[in-house]
Amino acid sequence: MAPDLRPMETPTETHIHIGEPILRWSARAQSIAEIESEISGMWSAHHPQDGADDGSVRNIAARTSVMNLVVVASGPELAERSAATIQALTGRHPSRTVVIQSADPDGPSWLDARIEAHCVLPHPDAAETCAETIHVRSGGEAGRHLSAIATPLIIHDLPVTVWWPGEPALTGPAAKRLLAGADRLVVDGSTWRSDGLDRLRQMAELQEASSLAISDFALDRQSRWREAIASIFDDPEFLPFLRSIRRIAVTFATHDETGAPGSTNLVKPIYHVGWLASRLGLSVVRPLTAVGGAARASRANVGKPISGPGLGATLSDGRREVAIVIRPIVSPMAAGTTLRVELLAERRGSELRADVTAEAETVRCRVWLDGVEALDRRFRAPRRGDVDLLADAIESGRRDPVAAGALRSAAALVAPGGPGGSAPP
């Protein structure tokens, strides 16, 4: 079938905005070969540098040489949302984005693609740089072979990032083949069904079995918490307590008053513990289990009652144990959102208590030494949106050992089947 939309004869817009992407090319194709042919034509016969729309001389356009982004969207709504996020990456686009959306898996095989080139003029005296987006909808058997669609469309020698919003099928053969050709996987663990912990373990297994770098928005969003917590121990007076932490408590929001297992996504609260455990070299003695009111009776409970059932675990630095408490509180905040991180450290008869909370724009750290307030500091750190997180992920280089360690430790906290016996997805 011939493409039904030819390359645009004239660009759609007549005024160049510095830093704003402008659609310079659009075409349609019904096979991989047609897509390749359209792209090739775009860069030779009808080069986007040909003349500015307003008749003025424009700087030479060049394709960016950053990376490939493959987006796997399980439905039209997710595909649309992903496309909107990518579009908002003004000036920070991958060189080529391939958005794959599978449909009608039981019907006959088909493929329909829309190819677009958006160009950006970063500065008036700079060269215009362009990025391509290929939206591929595919049905039937063809739609199940993600790798067979993505692999021929990626630009060779550039890194490949796979962004898999929604519920990534991490263990299926199609996913394995697709990810085998990728350098980085981007997910958002906080959107996963149930408590999300089975998928967290699967992702950790994938990480250990490959050289794949993984960016999880659920972990990346917590960077403002990590900055704040780390800053406590920048103070030479508090630094010695870092290796003497005896208790880590994370409070998170839930909408379920019963606290039933699997009712709230636990990925974010568990990442806090995973990060601290990996940085401090703590290993799991006892994985997370439901503790009910057990934690309430703990001496090291920082004097705050636990609302509802919680999870408890025990870690160790090889000499002493560290108690972990992850507890829900019914809150209007999004379920699974971290509300508070508390640390208790004991060293040579002194006690350090740290309490970290976050609001929309700031994170607040408070520290008490032997019951006397020693620090009360706010950090300006707004919550980060998907656009920022995706931009950071696609600009990341190789595997980040800190993120990898946090995932590894978080997964180690979760026994197979999860602390509440959550069902596999």
């Binding site: 950053v66 900055e227 920048d234 300006r380």
Partner: protein, 522 residues
Amino acid sequence: MKESREARNGRRASRAKPARNVLREGLRLERVPDPSVVVLFGATGDLAHRKVIPALYHLWRTNLLPHEFRLVAIGRRPYDDDTFRAEILASLERYSRVLPLDLDAWESFAPRIDYHRLDFDDTAGFEKLASALDAYDAEHGTPGNRLYYLAAQPSQFAELIAQLGRAGLDHERHEGGWRRVVIEKPFGHDLDSARRLNREVGKVFRESQVYRIDHYLGKETVRNLLVFRFGNGIFEPLWNRRYVDHIQITVAESIGIESRGAFYEQTGASRDVLQNHLLQLVSLVAMEPPATFEANALRDEKVKVLRAISTDPANDVVRGQYGPGWVAATQVPGYRAEDGVDPASETETFVAAKFTIDDWRWSGVPFYVRTGKRLPKRATEIAIQYREVPHRLFEDEGVTPDANLLAIRIQPDEGIMLRFGAKVPGLGLDVRSVTMDFAYGSAFNVDSPDAYETLILDALQGDASLFTRVDEVEEAWGIVDPIIDTWATASAPRFPNYDAGSWGPDAADALLEREGHRWRRI
């Protein structure tokens, strides 16, 4: 034997790494700047409005400043806070590198700016300032951490420093509360005045509190030069006299002196650019790998280069002054017709020099440097010209490929270009030079921070790596002073000796031609 083992063990013990904050690993900043007050002297001046305050605004906008950050703007004009903030907003709308302004960020930034009127010779005024800053600390949770930024006239630096000392504003507290001072170039106008200024600074601040800013060192490409040289395995082995024929460093400006006639008459190109930007670039290109990426290790290596530089001021240095001409399709006046310039001025607006670096790595390799006003374009570039191949295999075919060249573009269009020979497709054996071009813009597609953002953040974090140390300043003057002294005793060339819009006087070309070289066409 036992003694030496104990000595070794003792050394080992004394080198034991201090406890470190392992939670910092992998975070965006090595550490979040402490709650602090930036006290900006010369806050109503051009530098503050064009560079310093826009840099602070961008750092705030991108959440790189502490929540408890405050800016105390010091000036002589009778402003109140609102008047000053309105003036800053107007400047940001003009000079911000990202427009339109992020008004939400401005709304939260503006209340953190306070204007404080003060004459720099008013000792009592500095005492009041000290009290006001103490009150700030109590009110805003900034525990005595202060960055004094001297964006005033260089002639006022010594007095300002002395006033800070008299008011006790330099004293760091045992319980915390650092005090740092940022000094803008020029650091003196010759070796003697630099030494005097350094002595005055040294009477009040320890060297570890002093941050001498040369904004070139904060530029992304200059910082990348270190990564390029020491983060890649393939370039450093070729970075020496065995492979390099010569090196050219160009800092070209198409603008004239704008409204700075009086200032420029006192400085000229040698003091304005050669003594600082150009010699900093030479030292970064020529330095040995430092043992660590730590401020003093880096600066030690740069100082070694400066100490090894030699030149013959009478024969290896060329000066020039522009006459009228055309630049960027605009007719421009000659230097002597600029406002604030003596009509018979002998101030140089162009300088070119040949330096040699007398060390094992660079012996015999000329470093050609040039800088000037009203040149055809704005361009800063470091070009490493490699030697010809030892045996010209293709000479019989009538083709001699150009020698390889590595060009590091610092501005504009930051990037790196490697030139090499390639066969032209076809049955013959034509060889043509082709380039591999890396452009920051297309590779990363991300705006680089302004050099001032990088450097101010470094100063707030206590990282002096990209600031100039006292001995670097003095060594650089030790190179430039003899040049200026020679000019003072010799008759000047017939000025003007180059047209605005040209690449400088003919003598600059002759400087290279006598050794079989020529300036790169940029």
